[in-house]
């Protein structure tokens, strides 16, 4: 029988003796000295252990084939006379083909892998004493979130808060020498970002004022590594205090659409913004920098086309960034400078551009303040559809609106059976004596009175009373 000592085996398999001993130990075998004998069974056990370590399961080690590799090697020779009369040159050509077939049942791992890569959604935000809000606990829908309220009820404040937290995290994580989150980095960066996005006189002004108070914010994501909680006081200047430090940075840049389109101000905006103090919110700079990104190519192009096509039909052309740094609408009859394009179409153009660059495609977050602003009803209809299509693609969307038309358009689209898996949440903001109250629910009926609807009806009243 081929019973060998460990030393002999090490020579046969050309492995350092110490390493072999170590592996034997890990495989749970009794042999632990160089001169211990090792029999055939133990060898198989060792082999199974090693294969497992290299990613193959025991089944493979036991010889049940789950993967078949076919190889074909063809060798041929070419003879070539380089110069007439001289010696012929012989070139040997070897063609190798290899194809591996894997039993489908073994490919489950891939889908698990995909599951891991599924976009991480924001699940919840709790806040105390933020601007007009005393206390609120918002539970978000993983696809679509619609914040409804009159002017001055703090819709934009909510959008900016979530955006600021995510964008700080994404910016830090993107840095070339990014370390893991630390309190010292976050407390100043977050304060800066909040200051630059809200533009108050001082950070503490974001605290709802009733004597000296603290504002607490906590964000819970589907992946708890990203959870964060922080607070700041009404006398805070340049720092927030971090209550819960996230373990990692967010891996995707959120997108913020202000009420105004940015394609026309894009040329040189970023360089001027960086070089001077401007009263513009930083969201404008962030979004401009995303607008300037390169067009996404490759495997995702098909999905990009699907999302872009309806927008391009609505705009009557495609958005292109010229070498001169300005955006144009390219139509069949030529290119049109962005400032000459209708304001509403420019907003659509902004959306189209970010889809084309892949910033809005299969993961990420879109915060859109009053998508309806400057749009006619035909375009609002298109925007509602694009919003749902994007949410379907994996983008978690947050919009703030007071357009009854947009709400109704969303309602019609959501009632379609093909959208039955869309997880939508609605938030109604209502002014009370103790700040703004937030009612939330899965339909627009759960969020209390809608000012726009009441005003419509009140207009009917007035219409009927005039002679």
């Amino acid at each position: 029988m081929s019973t060998k000592t460990v030393r002999q085996l090490a020579e046969v398999v050309k492995m350092p003796l110490e390493r072999l001993l170590e592996e034997l130990k890990k495989a749970g075998l009794s042999a632990c000295a160089p001169d211990d004998a090792i029999n055939e069974n133990e060898k198989m056990q060792l082999l199974a252990h090693l294969r497992k370590r290299h990613g193959k399961d025991e089944g493979a080690a036991e010889g049940s084939l789950k993967r078949v590799t076919l190889k074909r090697r063809t060798v041929s020779e070419l003879k070539q006379a380089s110069v007439p009369g001289s010696t012929t040159k012989t070139i040997s050509v070897e063609v190798r083909k290899q194809k591996t077939y894997i039993k489908r049942s073994n490919v489950v791992d891939d889908s698990e892998l995909q599951k891991e890569q599924e976009p991480v959604k924001i699940a919840q935000m709790a806040l105390n004493n933020l601007t007009v809000f005393s206390t609120a606990d918002l539970k978000f829908g993983s696809n679509l979130n619609v914040i409804v309220g009159e002017n001055g009820t703090g819709k934009t404040h909510l959008l900016k808060m979530i955006y600021s937290v995510l964008s700080v995290s994404a910016e830090e994580g993107r840095k070339p020498k990014a370390t893991l989150p630390t309190k010292s980095v976050l407390q100043t960066r977050l304060a800066d970002k909040l200051f630059n996005n809200y533009r108050p006189d001082s950070l503490g002004r974001l605290v709802k004022r009733k004597g000296r108070e603290r504002c607490d914010i906590s964000l819970v994501l589907e992946q708890s590594d990203w959870d964060i909680a922080f607070s700041f006081a009404s006398n805070s200047k340049s720092e927030v205090s971090i209550e819960k430090l996230p373990n990692t940075w967010v891996d995707v840049s959120p997108v913020y659409f202000p009420t105004r389109e940015l394609l026309t101000i894009y040329p040189n905006f970023i360089s001027v913004y960086e070089g001077h103090y401007l009263e513009f919110e930083e969201t404008w700079r962030d979004t401009c920098s995303l607008l300037g990104a390169l067009i996404q190519r490759g495997t995702k192009e098909k999905r990009i086309r699907e999302l872009l096509e309806p927008l391009e039909i609505a705009m009557g052309g495609a958005i292109v960034l010229d070498r001169n740094g300005r955006f144009y609408l390219r139509t069949d009859s030529g290119s049109m400078e962005m400032p000459l394009v209708a304001e509403g179409l420019r907003k659509l153009g902004m959306l189209a551009r970010l889809i084309a660059t892949g910033a809005l495609l299969d993961k990420g977050y879109l915060f859109w303040d009053e998508p309806e602003a400057n749009l006619n009803p035909v375009l609002i209809k298109q925007v509602a559809k694009s919003i749902l299509d994007l949410s379907d693609s994996g983008i978690q969307i947050f919009i703030a609106t007071h357009s009854l038309f947009l709400l109704r358009e969303l309602e019609i689209l959501l009632s379609d059976p093909i959208r039955k898996n869309v997880k939508a949440k609605f938030f109604g903001l209502h002014q009370t004596d103790d700040g703004v109250r937030i009612d939330q629910g899965s339909t627009v009926d759960d969020i209390g009175d809608i000012a726009a609807l009441d005003e419509e009806l009140a207009q009917s009243d007035r219409f009927l009373t005039v002679d």
């Binding site: 109704r408 009926d445 759960d446 609807l453 009806l457 009917s460 009243d461 219409f463 009927l464």
Partner: protein
């Protein structure tokens, strides 16, 4: 066909349905509404062959426009609420056997549907082809009556949205 006249509109319901003008019930007029002021009543209750109870309110702005459009939804909700509250006592205490039977049928129904039959005022304009937007009223009713019927309907002559009765 069974005919009912409400505010000058003729309602024709299919045979086999149990229909009643709740407004005229003696149980409502002589007993229930006397509990205190402000108790209101729906116009029609109809129960179809699938055991769906249709709670129908009729508002014809061509005839009278006492209610402001902005108060309409609340008034309908109020009427539905009061009428449903009367069903159990009517089932037990109504002296009229027909009223008792109908109340019994409502409590045995499998589905509740709310319908507002809203006839528009004569007055309209290019910007307001219909003085009262039925979608507004419907949304407002739905907000208020979600636990009763999450899909209430607002209908009118020529736009009955598939309902099985005729109005003329």
């Amino acid at each position: 066909m069974q005919h009912f006249n409400v505010d000058g509109l003729n309602f024709d319901f299919p045979d086999g349905w149990q229909v009643s003008k709740y407004d005229d019930w003696s149980f409502y007029r002589n007993q229930f509404s006397r509990m205190w002021n402000g108790i209101k009543s729906l116009d029609l209750i109809a129960i179809d062959s699938d055991k769906t109870a249709w709670l129908i309110e009729v508002k014809d702005y061509r005839v009278n426009s006492r209610t402001k459009p902005s108060d309409l939804a609340e008034e309908v909700a109020h009427k539905i609420f009061d009428t449903l509250a009367a069903i159990i006592p009517a089932k037990i205490h109504a002296t009229d056997p027909d009223e008792k039977q109908l109340a019994r049928a409502v409590s045995a129904s499998r589905k509740l549907r709310v319908v507002l039959h809203l006839e528009q005022p004569q007055k309209h304009s290019k910007l307001r082809p219909r003085a009262i937007n039925p979608a507004d009223v419907q949304q407002k009713i739905r907000q208020l009556l979600k636990p009763v019927d999450s899909h209430p309907l607002v209908v009118e002559l020529g736009l009955m949205r598939g309902l099985e009765w005729d109005v003329s």
